[in-house]
C-alpha cells in the first residue's frame, strides 16, 4: 500500500526510508514533551519548555520546513519562555 501511494504522489516518503535523523528527533521530541510535563517547579519547567521548543525547531528542520523552524525558534524557544519567566517573576513577587 505504501508503494502504491509512492507511485501516485511524488512527495511520499515511505516509512522504511525515513531518515535515522527523523526517527531520532521524533524520539527526542517525545522525551522532551514528557520532560516538560514531569518538571514540577515552574521556573525549571519554563527552561525545559524552551529546550523542547528548540527540539521542535530541529524536528521541523529535519522534516524540511525551514520556515516553521524559524518561527518555532523565535517563538517557542525564545519569546514564549521569556514572557512566561516575566509572568512568574511577577507572581513570585506578589506571593512574598
Amino acid at each position: 500500500m505504501i508503494a502504491l501511494a509512492a507511485a501516485h504522489t511524488p512527495y511520499t516518503v515511505p516509512v522504511v526510508m525515513m531518515d535515522v535523523l527523523q526517527v531520532t528527533i521524533l524520539v527526542l521530541v517525545a522525551a522532551g514533551a514528557t520532560g516538560v510535563v514531569l518538571t514540577r517547579q515552574p521556573v525549571r519547567q519554563v527552561v525545559a519548555l524552551s529546550v523542547y521548543g528548540l527540539l521542535l525547531a530541529v524536528l521541523f528542520l529535519a522534516f524540511q520546513a525551514p520556515d516553521v523552524t524559524l518561527s518555532e525558534l523565535t517563538v517557542g524557544a525564545v519569546a514564549l519562555p521569556a514572557i512566561l519567566l516575566l509572568a512568574l517573576a511577577k507572581m513570585r513577587k506578589r506571593e512574598e
Binding site: I2, P10, Y11, L70, T74, V78, A79, K90, E96
Partner: protein, 253 residues
C-alpha cells in the same frame, strides 16, 4: 461510586478509547503522503507567477495574504490588550508604597552577561533585518525577523538597566511603528483595490530575477511591514511585562 467501580469504569472507557484510536490510526495515509492538488500546483506555479523563490512567503503574503492580515491583527490585538490590562494595574500599584520583596537581594548583572549581550545586540538586529527583508528569496519572513529584532532590545535590557530598554524603545514610538506596520499591510491591499484589482493583488513589478531581493513585488513590501508590526508588538509586550515586574520594585525601594 466506590474507587473500585470508578477504576473499572475508567479501564473500560480507556480500553474503548485505545481500541478506536488504534483503529483510526490504521486508516491514515502513508507517511508524508499528500493527496490534495493544491500543494503541487502552488509548487509548480509560484516561482513563475510571483518571482519569489521563498514559496512559503508567496503563499503567506500573496495567495493566502488575506489570512495573514487576520493573523497579524491577532498579534496587534494581543499587544493592545496587554497594554490596556497592565496599564490598569499600574494605577492600582501606586497606592502600595512598600517593596513587597525588600528582604531579597537582587543579584547584580555580571560583567560577562553585559558584555555578551552588548556584543550580540548589533548582529541580532542585522540578522532580524535580513530575515524580514529576504522573505521573497529564502525561508524567512517578517514575522521571524520581527521577533529576532525584538530580542535585540531584550538583550539591551540584559546588558544594562530597564531604563536603557525604555530609552531606546519609548512606548509612543513603538506604538507608532506597530501601527504603521499593521496599516501598511492593509494599505498595500487597498492600493490594489484602488488600481481596480482584487484586494492584496500583487500590483508592483515582479523584478527580473526570481529570488533577487528586489523581486516579487508586494510580497517583499508586505514582509517588511509585517516585520515592523511584529518587532514593535513584541517590544511593546516585553516592555509592559518588564515594567510590571521590575520597575515597580525600583520605584518602591
Amino acid at each position: 461510586m466506590t474507587p473500585a467501580t470508578r477504576r473499572w469504569v475508567f479501564l473500560v472507557a480507556g480500553a474503548g478509547l485505545a481500541a478506536f484510536y488504534l483503529w483510526g490510526l490504521t486508516g491514515l495515509p502513508g507517511f508524508g503522503s499528500y493527496p490534495g492538488p493544491y500543494g503541487p500546483t502552488i509548487l509548480r506555479l509560484a516561482v513563475a507567477q510571483t518571482h519569489a523563490t521563498g514559496v512559503v512567503s508567496a503563499v503567506n503574503f500573496e495567495y493566502r495574504g488575506f489570512d495573514t492580515v487576520g493573523e497579524e491583527f491577532i498579534l496587534f490585538a494581543a499587544a493592545a490588550g496587554i497594554s490596556v490590562v497592565l496599564r490598569h494595574l499600574r494605577g492600582e500599584r501606586d497606592r502600595s508604597a512598600v517593596d513587597e520583596a525588600a528582604d531579597r537581594d537582587v543579584p547584580a548583572t555580571s560583567g560577562a552577561v553585559r558584555m555578551v549581550a552588548l556584543l550580540l545586540a548589533g548582529p541580532v538586529i542585522v540578522a532580524g533585518w535580513w530575515l524580514a527583508s529576504h522573505a521573497q528569496a529564502n525561508p524567512s519572513g517578517g514575522f521571524q525577523g520581527g521577533v529576532v529584532i525584538a530580542t535585540a532590545f531584550v538583550l539591551l535590557y540584559l546588558a544594562g538597566e530597564f531604563l536603557v530598554f525604555k530609552r531606546v524603545s519609548p512606548v509612543a514610538l513603538v506604538e507608532v511603528v506597530e501601527a504603521v506596520g499593521a496599516a501598511g499591510f492593509v494599505a498595500t491591499g487597498l492600493t490594489a483595490v484602488l488600481l481596480g484589482m482584487p484586494y492584496l493583488k500583487n500590483f508592483l513589478p515582479l523584478g527580473q530575477y526570481p529570488g533577487a531581493v528586489s523581486s516579487s513585488g508586494t510580497i517583499a513590501l508586505i514582509s517588511f511591514f509585517v516585520g515592523l508590526e511584529v518587532a514593535a508588538a513584541f517590544i511593546l509586550i516585553v516592555g509592559e511585562l518588564l515594567e510590571q515586574t521590575l520597575l515597580v520594585r525600583r520605584e518602591d525601594t
